[in-house]
């Protein structure tokens, strides 16, 4: 019995062999596809697979292209960012962390018509009220992806500039 079991080289029909091998390949695939996904469960930013391929960087022309103009309530900020990733960005969020009277203020604006294709720049002029928010300390342009119809902000892929 034992020798028959091991000497018979074609023990199963091709159809059954195919089904077994497909099941084996699917299980291998499931294991491999989930490898490493648990490494970063404590870091929510690392689990943003929707953000993969999105990357912003301030355009560099003798320094990053950000200018603060105007004064008081009529201030504005102009900037140019480059999409240095590989996946299209549907829209971006603009955020300024500012200092006013010893406390930190945050200005946030979800910019309209701010979709960027890979390799292209985005140039925007955003109104900013110095009286309300104070002196800008840090500027961030954050790519916004979608997860289940909701906005997902890709902080790891954002362009950040801290003012000296």
């Amino acid at each position: 019995m034992t020798s028959r079991l091991f000497n018979n080289k074609r023990a199963v029909s091709p159809l059954i062999a195919t089904v077994i091998l497909i099941a084996f390949a699917v299980s291998l695939g499931a294991v491999v596809m989930n490898l490493g996904s648990n490494f970063a469960t404590n870091d929510p930013l690392a689990n943003q697979k929707e953000c993969v391929g999105m990357g912003l960087k301030f355009h560099d022309l003798n320094g990053p292209q950000i200018t603060f103009s105007g004064s008081g309530a009529d201030g504005f900020v102009e900037f140019v960012v480059d999409h240095v990733g590989t996946e299209p960005i549907p829209k971006v969020r603009f955020r300024i962390s500012a200092a006013k009277g010893g406390s930190t203020q945050t200005f946030i604006s979800d910019l309209e018509n701010s979709a960027i294709e890979p390799g292209y720049p985005l140039s925007k002029r955003v109104a900013y009220n110095y009286d309300t928010y104070g002196i800008p300390k840090q500027v961030e342009v954050i790519p916004t992806a979608q997860r289940n119809g909701k906005d997902l902000f890709c902080f790891k892929n954002s362009a950040t500039y801290t003012l000296p």
Binding site: R10, V12, P14, L15, A17, V32, L35, G36, S37, T86
Partner: protein, 446 residues
Amino acid sequence: MVIDQLVKPSLDEKPVPADLELPLSEPEEKRRIKFLTKEILDRIGYGLSSQQFLNILFVQSGASLFLVGMINGLKVMVSVIVSYILERYQLSVKVNRVLMSVVGVFFGISIFTLTIAIHRKSTALFVLSFVFATIIAVLYGSLYQDWFKENLEMRKRGFFLSRISYYGLAITGISMILGAALADKFTGGKRLAFEILGQNLRLQGYVIVLVFAAMIFMFGALLLLWISEKNAGKEPQKKHVVITPETWKEFASNKVLFVLFVSSAIISLVQTLATAYYGIFIYSNFSESAFGGFMNVAIIFIIALLTSVIGPVITQFNVRAYGKFPMLVFGTMLIAIGPVTYWYNPNLLSISMAMFLSTIGSAICGVSFGLLTLELVREDLKESYAQLSNVLTLIPYMIFIPIGAYIAFNWGMSILFLILSITLVVTVVPLYMYVIIAYNARKQKI
């Protein structure tokens, strides 16, 4: 193919055991060392000018993802056409060391012009140089192999030279790592500064790597001039390979052959498109993590390179146990794991393992296709059938490569990877299942 880094070891020429090797005189020993040096130089060159590095640099020089896909498809098509022309008309070419050297030097020059194209961000020059390099690579590779076989018989090659297709992979891998380290070290604002003839030069790391590769290829080609030839200028005794009406008839009348052709064409298309973007995807998503931009790409492709050695061995054992068609289905499923992992869970660990399985899958498919073709095609039509199926593959390439490249350009690489995996599972696997069921039904009738 010289630019293609996944050089599979030739299985038709097996090394002879040490006790069957012929003793060599001193001049013969020197000659063998020259051949070995040439092979090692070529392997170093392959590693430094890896296709994956070239794709990344092409994108960095301003090319769109569409152009990257197109150029990779074009490379395969040009290779098929050139090798067809070579096999069809080879009788009229007298191969000697001078001709080989000239072709080799031209290959080095084409790598050099590629470097200039990337450095100057000239897409047109890159495309021209790339097509030229592909044509020269096929010519050089094919002519050199014939010339090498004629000039140094297997029993005089010694341990390393007779196993160079295996050890060569290690050399290619090491040079890929060195090239990646240099490209990563001198990138962006950090450039390698030096002075030549009073001129101050500040070069990026990849320029140094590619110029070094070009010089190595040229030096390897020039080394051929110092190797004494046997039967110099002798016409090669190879026969013409012509696609005859009989081959067409055999192809059209055999359903199984047709299914095999369709599925192999789909697998080949999927692999060409996926490989065109793997390196760029890894570079752009993981340049800030693990080993760094080019090094991550090098490490992952070295895994694929080394796996390509064990793949055929695994296949040969399993084909006997499971049969060829079930193994084809299994191989196709393994290939599909590669692109789908890039889409579903892109991290370096999962991608490395997916590349490992994908490479084993393509080895399984390759060996099984080979064995099935041996079984299904008449002995006298085998070479002609191989040419026919190669030439026919050009048609789906012309249609689907631009579509795939457009998907990558418009919707991103992740979506393309998903579509490629679905294509394999939804089209190729059912085709094989159909053949298996048809075979079973026929057997039961008998």
